[in-house]
Structures are given as structure tokens and as C-alpha cells.
């Protein structure tokens, strides 16, 4: 099956820095475009919980507790490896790289294809 898509130019690739992104409107469709581990990802700006503006939320490392061999808590930290985006309405967290809900991987943000060409970033919708 063929799907007709439009390439929406977001801007220059260097404008999207690691661990952050931009919010854009594609003929009425709001999307967030982010750079995570060097790769560009795009999600519809709609939390799977109650539809909140998830792509406008905080981007933070996944919060972790580090256990000692005896299972006592050694330390707490924000992960340097795994970034989450947090919906500002109620705090639902999603893995920024995959769009999966942090507590229920079966739930995902709707992702869109991102293309980088000649230094420009395009989202296909």
C-alpha cells in the first residue's frame, strides 16, 4: 500500500541539540523533534494518558537507585544513558529514544519518520 506523505522542513540540524528538541506544527499536527544519542526522533505532541502536551515537557535522565551488593541503597542519580520526556500535565514519563511509556512499555507515543538531508531536518507526515 502507498501512503502519501509530505516532508515538513523543521530547520537546520544543528538547531536540534543533544537531549533537547523543538516543537513544530505541521498543518495542524503538533510534533516534537528531539535529538537523542545523536539520532533524531519525532513524536506527536499528545500524551497517551489524557492527551497533554508531552513534547513541551522536561527532558531528564531516568531516575535510578544504585544498590550495593547487600541491597542497601548506595546512591540516587539521573541516568546518563536513558533520557525521559515528561508530560507536564500529570508527569507520565516516556523513553525519549523509543517513545515507550516508562512504566508500561506497551504504551507508546505516536512516532513520525525524520529525515536529515543537506543539513536540514524533515518530518514526514
Amino acid at each position: 500500500m502507498e501512503m502519501q506523505v509530505i516532508e515538513y522542513r523543521i530547520g537546520r540540524a544543528e538547531g536540534i541539540v543533544e537531549g533537547d528538541g523543538v516543537l513544530a506544527e505541521l498543518d495542524g499536527l503538533e510534533v516534537g523533534v528531539f535529538r537523542v544519542k545523536g539520532k533524531l526522533v519525532a513524536y506527536e505532541n499528545r500524551c497517551r494518558h489524557q492527551g497533554g502536551p508531552v513534547c513541551t515537557g522536561e527532558v531528564l535522565g531516568k531516575y535510578e537507585q544504585v544498590l550495593a551488593p547487600d541491597k542497601t541503597v548506595l546512591a540516587e542519580r539521573f541516568s546518563g544513558e536513558r533520557l525521559h520526556i515528561v508530560c507536564p500535565w500529570h508527569g507520565w514519563e516516556y523513553d525519549l529514544e523509543t517513545g515507550q511509556c516508562a512504566v508500561d512499555p506497551g504504551i507508546r507515543l505516536r512516532s513520525l519518520d525524520v529525515v536529515e538531508r543537506d543539513g536540514d531536518v524533515f518530518v514526514l507526515a
Binding site: 500500500m1 502507498e2 501512503m3 502519501q4 506523505v5 509530505i6 516532508e7 515538513y8 522542513r9 523543521i10 530547520g11 533537547d20 528538541g21 523543538v22 516543537l23 513544530a24 506544527e25 505541521l26 498543518d27 510534533v31 516534537g32 499528545r46 489524557q50 492527551g51 497533554g52 502536551p53 513534547c55 513541551t56 515537557g57 522536561e58 531528564l60 515528561v86 507536564p88 500535565w89 500529570h90 508527569g91 514519563e93 519518520d113 524533515f122 518530518v123 514526514l124
Partner: protein, 416 residues
């Protein structure tokens, strides 16, 4: 089947100034409401809030006690919050992840046209969530019941009630309330009912669950009698309290928040039922607020079982505790999620949810629920959804079926 993308052209996206730049906090709520046809359905929000702390200077002149009035006239907000009023420990916003919106009196917003800022802000959030009536409550006062100073609870409550009736409710017939009763002083509470019961916009009265005055004591019967005589509803509004002795064992607010609301509601409900208050005062319609619904099957099973074993300790009952529970009303927020809809359906069956549940948002608190939390319950019929969204509340309080857009058409104009 394989799908391939065929690019038909290129356009420029409209990129926003900043990803997190200020946008109307409820931008998306309107879309959610439109998609579900909620602007065509009567929606009554049984529980929404504002932060009366932003209005202390306005409230102060209504305080009778001169010493208390002086405090609210002159102390800074941090001083009042830390040294005068009971605290309410607990980070609601998860270290800044949640970006709440406070309906606060700071200054008159642009375009308010002289309308009181609390009403102005509230009507806009109602518009965005497709809500036609809001039953408005304060926020810091939800734990005022644990103050060791009854005169503070009475004085502030009376002043707040008078201020609300004078300044906010008259701005719109879409804004209602159930007024705070300072239960630490039953005589004052009875006088509040006398003073406020017939005021425009007052649908009933409210008792906060977080307190240590046992409602079964004889000194409170005059309060119930006053409500019963007038056939008025009485709501019990819950809250979390990290100061509760057992909750001091919890090191995270998530635990206090999870258990606190239902815990205090359970205490009040248990006392209410086992002491036969509904039997003594059959004209009062009781409601329990902000504890969700998942606790109700537990209460039905547990209270019924204990009653079978120890009925002599509840001699006034003429039916099972579960039957009283099915006579009460409940606000929906924060409605719990179950992966299997049939589990929630069972819960609804146990407390007669279709007829007893009243939609509530709890907006602008951080765990607010849009009306979609009701429309998206797949096991409910369309009629059931309409009842919970607004029909049950309209019947309980005698609210006319008038949409917000009919009352305030200007609110829905472009740029409003």
C-alpha cells in the same frame, strides 16, 4: 501488507519559539473535549479548586477576630504558610516534572473586564475542558481541620465563605460551592448553616476529612440536624497528610498520596455508617470527595463482614453497611486505571457507580482528570456516561441544563 511512503511535496513547518515556551496550559483539553462531543453534553465538575492563599489580603477584612485579621492583613504569604496554618508536606509536582497552573489572585489579568480574577481564570479553564458548572473549593484550607486553634478554623472559614459569596460566586451562575464547616466548633458549624444555607450558589456544605474530631460524638448532632432539617448535602473532602503517625514511616510522597485520600475518607465513612448517622438524619445526602473509587469495594466487603460478626456495636443500622455506601455519592477524581475494563466495571457495580458517581476534575491540582476519563470508560453506556458527567449532579443539586456557552458566549469567541 507493506506500506511505502510516497513523498508528494515539501512544506515548511511552523516551529515554535521555544519548545517549553508558555502556552495555554489547557490547550489540548479543548481538542480532547471536541473529539468526544463533550460540548454537546452537560458536564458538571463536582470538585475544582483555587488557591485562596493568593487572596488572603482580600479575605482579611471579613475576619471578625481582630488578632487573626491583623495576621492576614500584614503577614507575608510564606509567614502565614509556615507559622500560622497547618502545613501540608509533600512535593506534588515530582521535582518540577509537573507544571501545574495555579488559579491565584495575583493581579487582574488583561481582558478581565472587571471580573474577579478567580472567576475569570476558572471560566476559561471550564471552557477548555467543556465544563458547564464548577463546584469550587479552596486548597490550603483542606487541612485546616488539624489546627490546634479552633478559633482560627472558625474565623478563617467564616471569612473565606463570606468573601467567596460576595466576590466570586456572583460573577457567574456556572460557579457554585459547598461551603466549609469548621467542625472543631460544632456550635459555629451550626451557625454557618443558619447563615449561609440560603445564599445564592451554595449547594450544601463541606467537612474536610483530615481532622481528629470524631463525628459520632453527641456535640455534632446539632450540625447534622441543621443539615437534615434543610435537606442539604454534606460532602467529606479528603486530602493527604504526611503528619499522620503511620504515614511518617513512608519516605516518599507517592505513598502518602496513594493512601492518604482513601484513608481519611474511610475513617469518616466508617464512623458515619456504624454510628447510624444516615439513619438518624435520613434527609442528608452524603458525598465523599477526591478519594477515587477503588476503595469502595473494600469498604463494602469489609464493613459488611464486620457488621455480620459484631452487629451489637452498630445497633442503629437497619440495613447492611454496603447499602448505605450505595446511597452515598462519590466524586470521580482521581479515577483509577485498571488494565481490564471488567475490573472497573465490577467496582462500579459494587457501589452503583452509574447513579452515584459525579465527574470531577480537581483542576488545577496536579492529578486533575479531564471529562474524557469518564467518556473513555468502555463498559459504560452512553446514558451512563451522561449521568456521571453531569446528569447525576444536576439531579442531586437541581441544576438547570444550561451550557457554559449559553451563559458566556463571549468566552468562546476567538481570542477570548
Amino acid at each position: 501488507m507493506t506500506t511505502t511512503a510516497n513523498t508528494t511535496g515539501t512544506r515548511d513547518a511552523v516551529v515554535h519559539e521555544g519548545r517549553k515556551s508558555p502556552r495555554a496550559f489547557l490547550d489540548h483539553a479543548r481538542r480532547e473535549a471536541e473529539e468526544r462531543g463533550l460540548y454537546d453534553t452537560l458536564v458538571v465538575d463536582m470538585d475544582c479548586h483555587h488557591y485562596e492563599s493568593g487572596a488572603y489580603r482580600e479575605i482579611a477584612p471579613y475576619i471578625d477576630n481582630p488578632a487573626i485579621r491583623r495576621i492576614f492583613e500584614s503577614y507575608s504569604l510564606p509567614a502565614i504558610q509556615t507559622s500560622i496554618l497547618p502545613g501540608n508536606l509533600g512535593d506534588r509536582n515530582v521535582a518540577g516534572r509537573i507544571r501545574g497552573e495555579q488559579i491565584d489572585v495575583v493581579e487582574h489579568p488583561p481582558g478581565a473586564d472587571g471580573m474577579h480574577p478567580v472567576a475569570w481564570s476558572l471560566l476559561r479553564s471550564m471552557r477548555d475542558m467543556a465544563i458547564d458548572y464548577s463546584i469550587l473549593f479552596p486548597t490550603p484550607m483542606l487541612v485546616l481541620g488539624v489546627t490546634p486553634q479552633p478559633e482560627l478554623e472558625v474565623g478563617l472559614a467564616r471569612a473565606y465563605n463570606r468573601w467567596l459569596l460576595k466576590n466570586v460566586l456572583p460573577e457567574s451562575d456556572a460557579i457554585k460551592t459547598m461551603l466549609y464547616l469548621p467542625l472543631s466548633d460544632p456550635d459555629a458549624s451550626a451557625s454557618f448553616i443558619e447563615e449561609f444555607a440560603d445564599a445564592p450558589g451554595v449547594l450544601g456544605f463541606l467537612v474536610t476529612c483530615v481532622r481528629y474530631q470524631p463525628i459520632h460524638e453527641n456535640r455534632f448532632m446539632k450540625v447534622f440536624a441543621a443539615l437534615d432539617e434543610r435537606k442539604l448535602p454534606l460532602a467529606f473532602h479528603s486530602a493527604p497528610n504526611w503528619g499522620e503517625r503511620s504515614f511518617e514511616q513512608m519516605n516518599r510522597f507517592i505513598g502518602v498520596h496513594a493512601l492518604g485520600f482513601p484513608f481519611y475518607a474511610m475513617v469518616q465513612m466508617t464512623n458515619l455508617i456504624y454510628n447510624g448517622i444516615p439513619e438518624r438524619f435520613p434527609n442528608i445526602r452524603f458525598a465523599f470527595m477526591e478519594a477515587g473509587v477503588a476503595w469502595l469495594p473494600f469498604m463494602v466487603g469489609r464493613l459488611d463482614n464486620e457488621y455480620r460478626l459484631r452487629s451489637s456495636e452498630a445497633p442503629l443500622l437497619t440495613k447492611m453497611p454496603g447499602d448505605y455506601i450505595r446511597d452515598f455519592y462519590y466524586t470521580s477524581q482521581p479515577i483509577e486505571h485498571f488494565d481490564k475494563p471488567e475490573h472497573m466495571e465490577m467496582i462500579f457495580e459494587l457501589f452503583d457507580g452509574e447513579n452515584r458517581l459525579l465527574y470531577s476534575s480537581d483542576y488545577p491540582h496536579q492529578d486533575f482528570d479531564l471529562p474524557s476519563t469518564i467518556t473513555d470508560l468502555s463498559f459504560l453506556s452512553e446514558e451512563g456516561k451522561r449521568k456521571i458527567l453531569g446528569g447525576n449532579a444536576a439531579a442531586l443539586f437541581g441544576l438547570p441544563d444550561v451550557k457554559l456557552q449559553e451563559r458566556h458566549p463571549g468566552l468562546f469567541a476567538n481570542g477570548a
